[in-house]
Point group: C2
Chain length 126, copies 2
DNA sequence: TATCACCTTCGAGCAACTCGCAGTCAACCG
DNA sequence: CGGTTGACTGCGAGTTGCTCGAAGGTGATA
């Protein structure tokens, strides 16, 4: 069982975001303790992780909510869920490629600045 | 020389976003033609590309603007720019790792749905 | 001449946070 | 026993970064 603070640290989200997601109903069957504090069990943490990953694929919170509802409905929705996941898989792969290009671009810039800095230092030593 | 539409297609941004960035001053020395239409030369496209990459690293538009201003100021700001790029390089690398984890997570889900679907089909053929 | 296919500005709207306040509760400390 | 600390609560307002659409200008084509 985790508190908001713990689960936020665990999943690298802010506490605000965790509350925001739970308030939006993105974590089914979230328990509360006797003081009304949110209690995250394994399942709740997994739902949050799922939200996080889908969110980072570019999926909107409403669509994520729809997907989570489908998950609650049992085997009848498996093919629909498969369609959704396939789309997000494509999105995730495209993003991975883009992330690689980004790293290459920025690495090159950083290296050029570094070389320039070295050159400037050697031309004008202290 | 590119129009808004062309540069948007080239960099995979919306036309709205391209105009938004230029209006925010994120593309130095952007030229206009005799009808006041934005004209993107090689340099302008490169600035936009730079904005796009930094943006996707999680950098805010204000910070990007600051960086671009530093670029305009010449060699005196090289070390400052190097610091910025190093930070963004770290961010980009962290993101790449996260993107890999995301792909793995979603791939696994999609595969499980696929297997489940196959199993359901074989148990209940048409 | 009119209908396109572009472009322009501008202001409103929206998603997803993000922040901070006021208040509750439990635990510890002098 | 009072006070402080710290983590939680809800809630409403603010921010960022788009996103959309209206209203209008220009030039080429039918």
């Amino acid at each position: 069982m985790y508190t908001v603070k713990e689960v936020a640290a665990l999943l690298d989200l802010t506490e605000h975001t965790v509350r925001y997601y739970t308030d939006k109903g993105l974590v089914p069957n979230l328990q509360r303790d006797e003081h009304n504090n949110r209690q995250f069990d394994k399942a709740a943490v997994n739902w949050l992780l799922c939200v996080k990953h889908l969110r980072h694929c570019g999926m909107g919170l409403n669509d994520i909510k729809t997907y989570i509802s489908l998950c609650q409905e049992g085997d009848a929705t498996v093919s629909e869920r498969y369609e959704i996941m396939s789309k997000q898989q494509a999105a995730a792969l495209a993003q991975l490629e883009e992330a690689k290009r980004r790293v290459a671009y920025i690495e090159e810039k950083a290296n050029r600045y570094f070389d320039l800095l070295m050159k400037m230092k050697s031309e004008n030593p202290i």
